[in-house]
Symmetry: C2
Subunit: 135 residues, 2 copies
DNA sequence: CTTTGTGCAAATTCTTTGCACCAAA
DNA sequence: TTTGGTGCAAAGAATTTGCACAAAG
């Protein structure tokens, strides 16, 4: 079990209080947060944190392959520290985003169609089980 | 072969010059255009067209199920008049978006996981064949 | 020192809203 | 008329940029 610090270094990211905080946040809160959510949640523990830094860091993380940007929410960019290909289910009622394991399929698409696929994002939208129970 | 006008009416959309123009644009240009692209391409033939109307119309189309909004481009909302579930491949080099037929898989996810899925968008990102040839 | 990261404030960009005018039934 | 569609201008919201200061080696 590598430390977050070693994990960042292994991906050519120089650790800083902010970067470590954000990476740990992503890894422990698998909520696909927006930059804003990350900012407000970390701001108490890193008082000088700015949104610019959150954006800068997210961009760096995506470039270095330790995070992915999820375009399931048309309003905000959302980020995920889980970089392995998986599907996201967005509930149109409560707004939750649920991770789903992905049958080993669409990656074969790259072989079938001859593309080089390096990011995969399956976005499903609908109503989640919880919300279905409530109605 | 239904006319665009009948198609709109069948989906409870009252036809207007603008709506017909935009729908026909979507059906004939399968380029997953942004609102801006639709606006500038149609503006010569519909001189009074406004971006507000493009946005209004797109929203209506999505609500009525004759278009989908694609969140593959973090910068702009893109729209597609092909509403059947299919995958999109985004080339990180040239920016093109290619439609891919979708093996009948992920829809089974709804049955597997018990969600009601009413929108599906598989987003793959990488380098397309054309760009691979050029490098 | 020198390089790199951080963060404020301002600027940009995309999208939505408020509201008045227009058009069709 | 009355209802609904359109479009201008302004507002709103998310993200980016410019730049100066701070931190680390």
């Amino acid at each position: 079990m590598k430390s977050t610090q070693e994990y960042l270094i292994a991906h050519d990211i120089k650790p800083s209080v902010q970067r470590l905080g954000i990476m740990e946040y992503l890894l422990s809160h698998r909520t696909h947060p927006t930059a804003d959510e990350v900012y407000w949640d970390l701001q108490p523990s890193i008082p000088t944190l700015s949104k610019t830094t959150v954006y800068n860091t997210m961009k760096l993380f995506v470039e270095q392959g330790v995070a992915i940007q999820i375009d399931i929410d048309e309003r905000n960019a959302r980020f995920d520290g889980v970089v392995e290909a998986h599907a996201h289910f967005y509930c149109k009622k409560c707004g939750c985003i649920i991770d789903l394991p992905l049958p080993q399929i669409s990656w074969m698409m790259s072989e079938t169609y001859g593309f080089t696929v390096d990011e995969t994002c399956v976005n499903l939208k609908g109503i989640c089980e919880e919300c279905k129970k409530k109605s």
